[in-house]
């Protein structure tokens, strides 16, 4: 389809507007993170810091237990991602390969769970975890994150399983491989990219999560990064904006890096070659 030059110009203008809208808050965050206090207090803030400094980062680490919080976040996110994928993969396999009441019920739960208001869930969860002595503990939070990330993990993984051609499994069976053998040596390798992508997605979700962490973690030495970050907010003078921006910037980097990674993984197209070869 040919598009007129005028329309093309309009399209590029619109695309540029989108790019600016998407990018400018993040650029501003970076700008503030590297600005010395004097420039932050200036009446005419500039985009590019005139005297860039790392002082804000140092101050952020001095003010709040960022390392501890980062470690807590890492444990919670890794634990949630690994466990979620381990238990979701077999169930997703069943959901993709069998039609039955169980599959229907599981699919129903996946859909309905998107509509749960967390308030209705968090109060009983809080009471249950309190009775188990798992309030204010990272393992307790991991349990919550596992269940919380299961719906989309099941959804994604079931999609990946469906993309593995049944014929491959049947061919393996014809060649005399048992069902377990087929799963381990035929299906699993083909699923691997999907499993990794799902785990990374679960990792990001848990790393970013705030509400459950806010309710369940009470003391600063147990809290995750998002909760610690909110301690910077409040009666902030202009002078405290720098450390706030610096800490927020650091907390975002893992999510952005991991997410960039999955984008490539998803487009890896390992399956496209599987049937051909």
């Amino acid at each position: 389809m040919r598009t007129s030059t005028g329309a093309r110009v309009g399209q590029y203008a619109a695309l540029l507007a989108y790019l600016v809208f998407l990018a400018f808050p993040f650029l501003w965050l970076i700008s503030i993170a590297f600005k010395p206090p004097r420039e932050l207090a200036s009446l005419h803030p500039t985009w590019i810091p005139e005297h860039p400094t790392l002082d804000n980062f140092r101050q952020a680490f001095d003010e709040q237990p960022l390392l501890r919080a980062g470690l807590n976040s890492l444990l919670a996110a890794l634990g949630a991602a690994v466990i979620a994928v381990l238990i979701a993969t077999p169930m997703a396999y069943v959901m993709a390969r069998r039609r039955g009441r169980l599959t229907k019920a599981a699919t129903g739960w996946v859909v309905v769970s998107q509509a749960f208001p967390f308030v209705l869930l968090i109060i009983p969860l809080f009471l249950v975890l309190k009775n188990l002595g798992l309030i204010n503990s990272v393992p307790g939070l991991v349990m919550v994150y596992v269940v919380w990330s299961l719906p989309f993990a099941l959804w994604m993984l079931a999609g990946y399983v469906r993309a593995v051609p049944r014929e491959l499994e049947e061919a393996a069976a014809v060649d005399g491989a048992g069902r377990l053998r087929t799963l381990v040596s035929v299906t699993a390798p083909l699923l691997a990219p999907g499993i990794v992508a799902t785990a990374l997605f679960a990792f990001i979700t848990a790393w970013n999560e705030f509400f459950f962490a806010l309710v369940l973690l009470k003391t600063p030495e147990k809290q995750t990064l998002p909760v610690i970050l909110t301690h910077f907010i409040g009666a902030e003078g202009v002078a405290d904006l720098g450390p706030l921006a610096a800490a927020a910037f650091l907390a975002t980097l893992p999510s952005l890096l991991v997410f960039a990674l999955i984008q490539r993984r998803i487009t890896g197209g390992m399956l496209a070659g599987a049937v051909k070869s």
């Binding site: 540029l16 989108y18 169930m91 509509a115 208001p117 970013n208 927020a248």
Partner: protein
């Protein structure tokens, strides 16, 4: 839950993923149990427990036993004007975020579906709002809106459009300001969903329509939209739910202020439960939120679907 007892398999034997001779049903159960048990214990169970709590006077840190009080919480809730005001704000927020989110995302998806340069840049930048922790999104926009050091006021001053404004503390500007952040944060996800839908639209049909002399708008209405419609409905319905239930963004941006102007129902219920310890009452709020949202959603979907068949007949 009866299903679990029927299978009579303890959870411990679950990890053996697939036995060669287990019979089709048993092996399925082995595969399913490791996920099913956490789902039942930490999701379905608590949800039912939460609904029951709504009919009790449960409070945090109380020594006397919790009592069954019937529908008293709901009767109180009916007269709780603060809650309904918060509910109204929640609906304004949810619709106010979802509609622009959809329109902007549709625009971006249509652009990305064209053969433009710089597409990679948009795809790369779309990661930022999507992957970022909501708390950081809130902090970032606080820096943008900051009355003194914020870029928004600085830009307005540069353009000679007044002396700036305290956006997040102004009674009139707080809600629109947080709505903009909500739109920004949810746009990429919607864009990706719509883009996937667009790439499923039949290209030949598009070309045929163009050959027949149909203009861009007509092509969009008769070819693109019918194909995109199911995706658009699904993502809009999900966005409505997610936005109505959102918490972290507004908690960080305004914490419900100024004067409750941005106090979304989730914030209200959170405070009721974990600041004032009124577990039963907060659970009742949660029930009301689910009920109203389910009804609204049902009305929306039924209306849209019916409109869809009519539209289809016309075309």
């Amino acid at each position: 839950m009866t299903l679990v007892t029927e299978s009579r398999r303890p959870a411990r034997s679950a990890p053996g993923p697939d036995r060669p001779r287990g019979g089709p049903d048993h092996s399925a159960w082995f595969l399913v149990l490791p996920a099913l048990i956490p789902i039942l214990v930490l999701s379905v169970g608590p949800l039912l427990y939460g609904i029951l709590l709504a009919f009790t006077d449960a409070q945090s840190g109380r020594t006397e036993p919790t009592e069954w009080i019937g529908a008293l919480n709901f009767r109180d809730l009916l007269h709780d004007t603060l809650f309904w005001e918060s509910f109204r704000i929640g609906l304004v927020w949810a619709v106010g975020v979802t509609v622009p989110q959809f329109l902007l995302a549709l625009g971006l998806a249509l652009l990305l579906n064209q053969n433009l340069r710089l597409r990679w840049a948009a795809r790369a930048l779309a990661i930022i709002p999507w992957a970022m922790p909501e708390v950081v999104v809130g902090i970032m926009w606080r820096l943008v809106y900051n009355p003194d050091a914020g870029i928004l006021n600085e830009t307005l001053r540069d353009l000679g459009l007044g002396n700036g404004h305290d956006w997040l503390s102004g009674l009139g500007t707080a809600l629109p300001a947080v709505v903009v952040v909500g739109v920004w944060a949810g746009m990429p996800q919607t864009t990706v969903a719509l883009l996937a839908g667009l790439q499923n639209t039949p290209r030949e049909l598009h070309e045929a329509a163009a050959v027949d002399g149909a203009g861009a708008w007509r092509r969009f209405r008769t070819v693109t939209w019918p194909a995109l419609r199911p995706v658009a409905l699904a993502i809009t319905a999900l966005n409505l739910i997610w936005n109505f239930n959102s918490f972290a963004l507004v908690y960080v941006l305004t914490n419900g202020g100024p004067g409750g102007r941005t106090r979304l129902p989730m914030l209200f219920a959170y405070e009721e439960a974990f600041r004032y310890g009124q577990f039963g009452y907060a659970a009742a709020m949660g029930c009301v939120m689910v009920a109203v949202i389910s009804i609204l959603l049902a009305v929306f979907l039924v209306g849209r679907l019916r409109g869809g068949t009519k539209g289809g007949d016309e075309a």
